[in-house]
């Protein structure tokens, strides 16, 4: 009898399971959900920064056709400061203070979207304004250390100052990265439906349990009275990770107006309502011996932070662990600006700092006349330089080799400005990548029905990373069934609690919970089979029995029966629920990568275009190479955006972001993208998770 599965679970490049509903327009994103008697919410927002409302006239808005309710700071119910995971504690519409441009000053509820939009335009106001600050250059002297957070603002090993002094070669540079906005294609959206004192929120969130907690606390409801649903997310990239004012305000407005309310942020409001990546400034100094051996690195970051709130940014986190070096110091200081709070954005922390570190390292390579890749290999870290811990697994050396080979790195012409095609110079470059592995506890339930189908239930989210596809693969792998018989229910607080879908942590955390629950289910099925006199496996030792090909089967005797039979005879579905939490902390855990690019640079104008990019990644075991590759090429394109296109300009005079749209803010488009290749090195991480994965 064959024991080979036709379609193994983990490692198969299966098509996306929700591909069909997505290509036919049938996936229900938040703003698509229809509920009876639905009304529309629209914000009127402040055009000024750092101000006090001295006059607010809503009479015309109130009288406009179709308007049901107008909420302002004068009539809004009072709400206590929001607790975590709210991104900001102070809810708008609570007093006359304006802290940032774009802050809501009124929320209109009306019968149609047109009515509500029209009425919002009728709100008039007068403000008393004070000078505002929007750029870190305006406040460098007053930068502060944000102590509260999930990492250390400052780290120090060895003696960096002495190390830099003693170095034969020293490079020192200042790098800046502007404000950037997440701009998921789906704007944030919330529909609030009350039934007595029970609230259902259909919400575009990366964290349904987080929304439930914040809203329940704000509205003084028991958490079980609040249900949050998010079946499909049109991207988030961090902007929907924490909880923002519009979610709480929509729930409040629906209660006060006495009808279900749908509120969708406009694209312009997306720039001022749910965070951004702060402007950062990186002072990097690297000292090395003539042979390229690193002696000391310092990386000092200054970043923008809202005046009213605190957000910790660890942009130099990667510098702490990337290269072997006896002395490394990093610092982070915040400049208070009059904007809404920044938040995590793909890729948080290292995504910014790696650019500075790797650029400085490149300068060092050319100062030493050493190949940039060779310089990185000479300083390869075998252990985490910050903690001295071994890595859970690290195959960056293999990634360098794979990437270099696929790119043709060795054969390239090395000297700067040595290759020209017409008006353009052709350049080659490479960099290392590193991202902290975040591991968060999650719970999942897995059950097999009497017909042999399997259902996973966990309040994770489908944000485009393929959760609906890979979780069934993980369960199928454990249960020895074809992934096609496994489905998942997600995005609903009626399901077991899962961590938020951010930090590239879902495969590790939720995947481990699914695997653990599926393993318990498997044990239960085997126990049922060997105890059941009607089973051909009756009386066998459970250690002799495995689940494979949809059957319970004896390894030694070959006796077998379909799993479905075991479940059916037990009289009901068989299920197991398990929580996975990270338990070991004796290892340092990171995802690694090596990225190689070829660019064309207009010799006169300096305009840079990407011709091709090869990335090779060490990220642990890959559950689905197809969806994983899409994520990695997507990440490369985000790199193009960061390096060449994206920047949210602010105007300090008017105290706001200038181009709150998709025309003035340059997102990469198809024509910006050259040939991309993403590769993964073969890897099993034995320590990071229950499924040997380490990332995503």
């Amino acid at each position: 009898m064959s024991t080979v599965l036709e379609r193994p679970g983990i490692g198969s490049p299966l098509d996306r399971r929700d591909g069909r509903v997505k290509v036919t327009g049938r996936a229900d994103y938040t703003a698509d959900v229809v509920v009876p008697d639905l009304k529309y919410g629209v914000f009127a927002t402040s055009p000024v920064t750092k101000a006090r409302i001295v006059e607010l006239d809503t009479v015309a808005a109130q009288r406009a056709p179709g308007v049901r309710y107008v909420m302002t700071h004068r009539n809004a119910p009072r709400v206590p400061p929001l607790g975590p995971p709210a991104a900001i504690a102070l809810l708008p519409l609570q007093n006359d203070r304006i802290r940032y441009e774009g802050q809501p000053i009124a929320l209109i509820v009306a019968d149609t979207l047109e009515d509500a939009t029209y009425a919002a335009g009728l709100v008039s106001a007068r403000f008393e304004t004070a000078p505002a600050r929007t750029e870190i250059a305006q406040g460098l002297a007053n930068a502060v250390k944000v102590e509260e957070g999930y990492d250390e603002p400052d780290t120090r090993t060895g003696d960096p100052e002495a190390g830099l002094r003693a170095s034969a070669v020293l490079v020192e540079h200042l790098y800046t990265i502007g404000y950037r906005h997440h701009n998921p294609m789906e704007p944030s959206a919330t529909t609030a439906v009350w039934d007595g004192d029970r609230l259902t929120l259909y919400d575009a969130t990366q964290y349904v349990y987080g929304v439930r907690g914040v809203v329940a606390q704000a509205l003084d409801l028991p958490p079980e009275n609040v249900r949050v649903v998010s079946h499909f997310l049109g991207g988030g990239f961090g902007s929907k990770g924490y909880v923002w004012p519009h979610q709480v305000l929509t729930a409040l407005a629906a209660r006060e107006a006495g009808c279900p309310v749908k509120l969708v942020l406009t694209r312009a409001q997306m720039y001022t309502s749910c965070g951004y990546q702060p402007e950062t400034r990186h002072a990097v100094a690297i000292g090395a011996d003539r042979d390229g051996t690193l002696r000391a690195i310092t990386h000092d970051v200054v970043y923008a932070n809202s005046a009213a709130e605190e957000f910790p940014e660890y942009a130099a986190a990667g510098t702490r662990s990337m290269y072997a070096c006896p002395s490394i110091a990093t610092t982070h200081r915040a400049v208070k600006v009059d904007l809404i709070n920044p938040t995590a954005m793909r890729a948080p922390n290292e995504g910014m700092g790696n650019f500075a570190l790797e650029s400085a390292l490149d300068e060092l390579a050319y100062a030493l006349n050493v190949d940039p890749l060779e310089l990185r290999l000479r300083n390869y870290a075998g252990r985490d330089p910050l903690t001295g811990k071994p890595f859970s697994s690290k195959k960056l050396r293999e990634a360098y080799a794979l990437g270099a080979e696929r790119f043709g790195w060795a054969a390239r012409p090395c000297a700067p400005r040595s290759l020209r095609e017409g008006d353009e110079l052709i350049g080659y470059g490479m960099a290392s990548a590193l991202m902290t592995t975040y591991r968060m506890p999650s719970t999942a339930r897995v059950e097999m029905a009497p017909d042999g189908t399997v259902t996973i239930a966990t309040a994770s989210h489908e944000i485009g990373t393929g959760v609906r596809t890979i979780m069934p693969q993980i369960a199928a792998d454990v249960l020895g069934v074809d992934p096609s018989v496994v489905t998942i229910e997600l995005g609903d607080t009626d399901l077991p609690e899962a961590a938020g879908t951010f930090g590239s942590a879902t495969t590790v955390g939720v995947g481990s919970a699914v695997s653990t629950a599926a393993t318990q289910l498997k044990e239960r099925l085997i126990a049922l089979a060997v105890a059941d006199p009607h089973s051909p496996l009756h009386g066998l030792a459970s250690t002799d029995v495995e689940l494979i090909g949809g059957e319970v089967r004896s390894r030694t005797t070959g006796r077998a029966e379909p799993c479905a039979g075991v479940v059916a005879r037990s009289g009901a579905a068989v299920r197991a629920e398990a929580t996975w939490s990270p338990s070991n902390d004796e290892y340092a855990m990171f995802g690694f990568g090596a990225v190689f690019v070829e660019v064309r640079v207009d010799a006169e104008l300096g305009l840079v275009r990407l011709r091709r990019c090869v990335g090779a990644y060490s990220a642990g075991r890959i559950v689905n190479p197809k969806t994983a590759a899409s994520q990695m090429t997507g990440a490369m394109i985000w790199g193009i955006g960061q390096a060449l296109l994206e920047r949210s300009e602010t105007d300090a005079n008017v105290g706001r972001f200038v181009s709150k749209n998709l025309a003035g803010y340059l997102l990469p488009v198809n024509a910006d993208v050259g040939e991309l290749e993403a590769h993964f090195v073969d890897e099993f991480d034995p320590h990071a998770s229950a499924i040997r994965a380490r990332h995503r």
């Binding site: 098509d15 996306r16 591909g19 069909r20 997505k22 290509v23 036919t24 327009g25 049938r26 996936a27 994103y29 703003a31 698509d32 055009p47 101000a51 015309a60 009288r63 406009a64 056709p65 179709g66 149609t112 979207l113 047109e114 029209y118 335009g121 009728l122 709100v123 008039s124 106001a125 007068r126 403000f127 008393e128 304004t129 004070a130 998921p184 294609m185 789906e186 499909f232 997310l233 049109g234 991207g235 969708v264 694209r267 485009g464 990373t465 197809k626 590759a629 899409s630 994520q631 090429t633 997507g634 990440a635 394109i637 749209n661 998709l662 025309a663 488009v669 198809n670 024509a671 993208v673």
Partner: protein, 173 residues
Amino acid sequence: MARSIGAPAIGPADGARPAGIQTTLRVNGSVRRLELDPRATLLDTLRERLGLPGTKKGCDRGECGACTVHVNGRRINACMTLAVMHDGDEIVTIEGLARGEELHAVQAAFIEHDALQCGYCTAGQIMSAVACIGEGHAGSADEIREWMSGNLCRCSCYPQIVAAVQTAAQERT
């Protein structure tokens, strides 16, 4: 310093709702007679009145392509046009592309090449791709990149989108 905002809203001076306008839309083969608010865009009408939320709103001002539909065979941004301007027009949305359970070649190619992640831009990408092929603008990868650049994808599935359009274009010829 004092700053004020006034009433920039556009509408009748007396504040009455503008009178509805009788409009006939032919959407995905069926005739829909409606009394429409003249301020309603085609996009909002499809989504909020006609129960066709497959067409998405990303920007509401012609910058992202998420709302792409076909009107009389041409691709347009449904957010940039008022519904009442389309009396009698033939409109096809993402919901009307497949024949029953049989996917359009472009839809199938998008799944095959994993040309979507979150899927929010996908309706617009697919409607745009069908038109792009029909216009004869899918002759090479570079040509597709150029003629599909009105459709943003923040998940950044661009290489897969190019591959999917190429596959579907080849099947057609």
